[in-house]
């Protein structure tokens, strides 16, 4: 990695914050975009609704109006969940890329989502009838497990951790854990429930799940924003961060907790959705530079837009059937991954 150039651009952006205006514009347009996509997401679907129904459901709710019930019970939770999951994945990708200085880092490539869904499979198999809350706890533990395995393996290897080794270890752990989950699914006759988690999607989200998810994602996002300055410093390199007086271990620990919080929450509600955490931080970095104080909020907004857009596309592409949103994000994300891979993980 070309650390001198990296350091230079980072310190430049720390001092001159001319990127701030760009970032603010991105955030402003992004939030408008989010709002519009929520409206589109609520309006279109199997049951045809008009904009009047949508507005009515919010401002003049009638319990016996079927359209209003659809909006409140099905469409709105789905839209909100898509935004929360997209933001959570994108921000945890941004944190991972910032802390490890690894452009290929993201929850799905690093085996975090696979670990999470593996423990969900275990929970579904051995504790039938487990509550949604219990499932989320397993999901959090699992994301920790996946991350520990992948980072442990790649740091054990000769020559230490490199972007490529992380990606390879992540894909090996992912296929191992996925195979084990499939085996559990077949053994306990819950293959269908488990394949729902592997397909990934927000189509069957319940309002209660959204209520549950909300505090986790919000606190994760707040933690990420609080950490963002430290991450920018850590991104200069561990030595540089230490000499600037940063306690890097504390920052890394808090960063890891944030990643697990966000990814665990996202997987427990939407299953495995790949590539959002990979591409969104790159887009954000392209737009606003290398200051994580701007990258993280922009990632949150852009991630939300990407996932809700993917969800809308997934609904329309093959109506009336739903195409899993994970497949849509992969279609967008793979070319980008290939582009990064051609550079062998160098920024």
């Amino acid at each position: 990695m070309d650390s001198t150039i990296h350091t230079k651009t980072t310190s430049e952006s720390l001092h001159k914050s001319k990127n701030r205006w760009i970032a603010l514009i991105v955030l402003f347009i992004g939030i408008i975009g989010l709002f519009l996509s929520v409206v589109i997401s609520i309006r279109f679907g199997a049951a045809d609704l008009s904009y009047r129904d949508v507005l009515g459901a919010f401002f003049a709710f009638e319990e016996d109006n079927q359209a209003h019930v659809i909006v409140r019970e099905l469409r709105l939770p789905r839209a909100v969940a898509a935004i929360l999951v997209g933001s959570a994945l994108a921000v945890s990708g941004a944190i991972m890329q910032g802390m490890t200085r690894n452009p290929l880092a993201s929850p799905s490539i690093m085996g975090v989502t696979a670990g999470s869904s593996f423990l969900i499979a275990i929970a579904l198999a051995f504790l039938p009838g487990i509550s949604y809350f219990g499932l989320s706890i397993f999901s959090f533990i699992g994301s920790g497990l996946g991350a520990c395995l992948v980072f442990g393996i790649s740091s054990l290897s000769r020559g230490g951790m490199t972007p490529v080794k992380l990606a390879l270890a992540g894909s090996a752990i992912t296929s191992l854990l996925t195979s084990l989950s499939t085996a559990i699914g077949i053994k306990f006759n819950i293959a269908k429930d488990i394949s729902y988690f592997f397909a990934g999607g927000v189509s069957a989200v319940q309002p209660t799940q959204v209520h549950f998810l909300l505090p986790f994602v919000i606190s994760g996002l707040l933690l990420a924003i609080l950490l963002s300055r430290s991450i920018t410093v850590l991104n200069l390199g561990e030595e540089a961060a230490k000499s600037l007086g940063q306690n890097t271990n504390v920052v890394k620990f808090l960063g890891a907790v944030t990643v697990l919080l966000l990814t665990g929450a996202a997987v427990s509600i939407a299953g495995v959705i790949g590539f959002v955490g990979l591409i969104v931080p790159h887009i954000a970095r392209f737009l606003v530079g290398t200051d994580y104080r701007w990258i993280i909020p922009c990632s949150a907004v852009l991630g939300g837009i990407l996932l809700i857009a993917a969800d809308i596309v997934g609904r329309m592409v093959n109506a009336p059937f739903e195409t899993p949103v994970g497949a849509i994000t992969a279609v967008v994300g793979v070319p980008f991954f290939l582009y990064l891979a051609r550079k062998e993980g160098r920024v």
Binding site: I153, A167, A341, R342
Partner: protein
Amino acid sequence: MSKRLINFKTLFFSTIFFIIITAIISINAGYIQIPLHEVIAALLGNGTDQNELTIFQFRLPRIFMALLVGMGISLSGAILQGVTQNPLADPGILGINSGAGFAVVLYMFFFQGASFLNGWASVYVLPITALAGAFLTAVLIYFLSRKNGHITPIRLLLMGIGMNGAFNAGILIFQMKMEPNDFTRALTWLSGAIWGANWNYVWALLPWLLILIPIAIYKSKVLDILLLGDSTATGVGINVARERKILLIIAVTLAGVCVAVGGGITFLGLLAPHITRQLVGPKHSKCLPLTAALGSFILLAADTLGRVVMAPSELPVGIVVSILGAPYFIYLLIKSI
């Protein structure tokens, strides 16, 4: 150095011996358990009708399929590792399997109907479809990972990971559009079950292997020389670009036809060649035959295991191989690069 390596002939024949033992266990194991003496009686033509049906129509074709597919995939891995000089190359990891899988899913989707794999024609069409998919993927990966005229092992692997992601997404999209019945079949097929096991598939696969495996072994000297590096190989008088292309075509064809009947089996192409190299060293004239034998053994053992471990439900063989193979891949990752 060579003294520490175990004698090739001893190893080869003991592997064959183990294959025979496993085959006997495999005939015996499964939903219907047949005692050993009845197996022998049936093989000699004196068994009950039910036992003969089970053995000749279900167990035996399945065993032969496992042997052939294991042979093909592990040889494909060995050749790929030799040609790309990349110890971690494997048709599954490089995305060739999922490319073939995607082609097969497309085929199932466009020529759907409950009989999509029962007609006699589809037995022969399916391998061709998978082959087309495998070749397309291989060409794609080859060109995507080429930069300034050369290919680095790492870039090749990353491209493979990306391709896997793309094809799996494609498979997912088309699977969702399928009839539930076809969907289940496609899913089982993709996780690598040797489920289609009947004699037709064995006959469809056999000619490919009978042609390709001897060519591969005949080329083992070329593979040895290629390992010395391009300039040495050219110096010895080998047309490096041409030989590499031929060997790649052999490897991709082997993987493609095996995936067509065996489904997605990852890590086998990694496991068998590496164990072989540990045992007999890197010389391909010894390495390739033993890899083929060992690959057959591993797949047959994995298939038997998958049938026994969770009886009466069956674990697809691809899952068993992944559970065994992924830790080995990780071990190689820690050790080698």
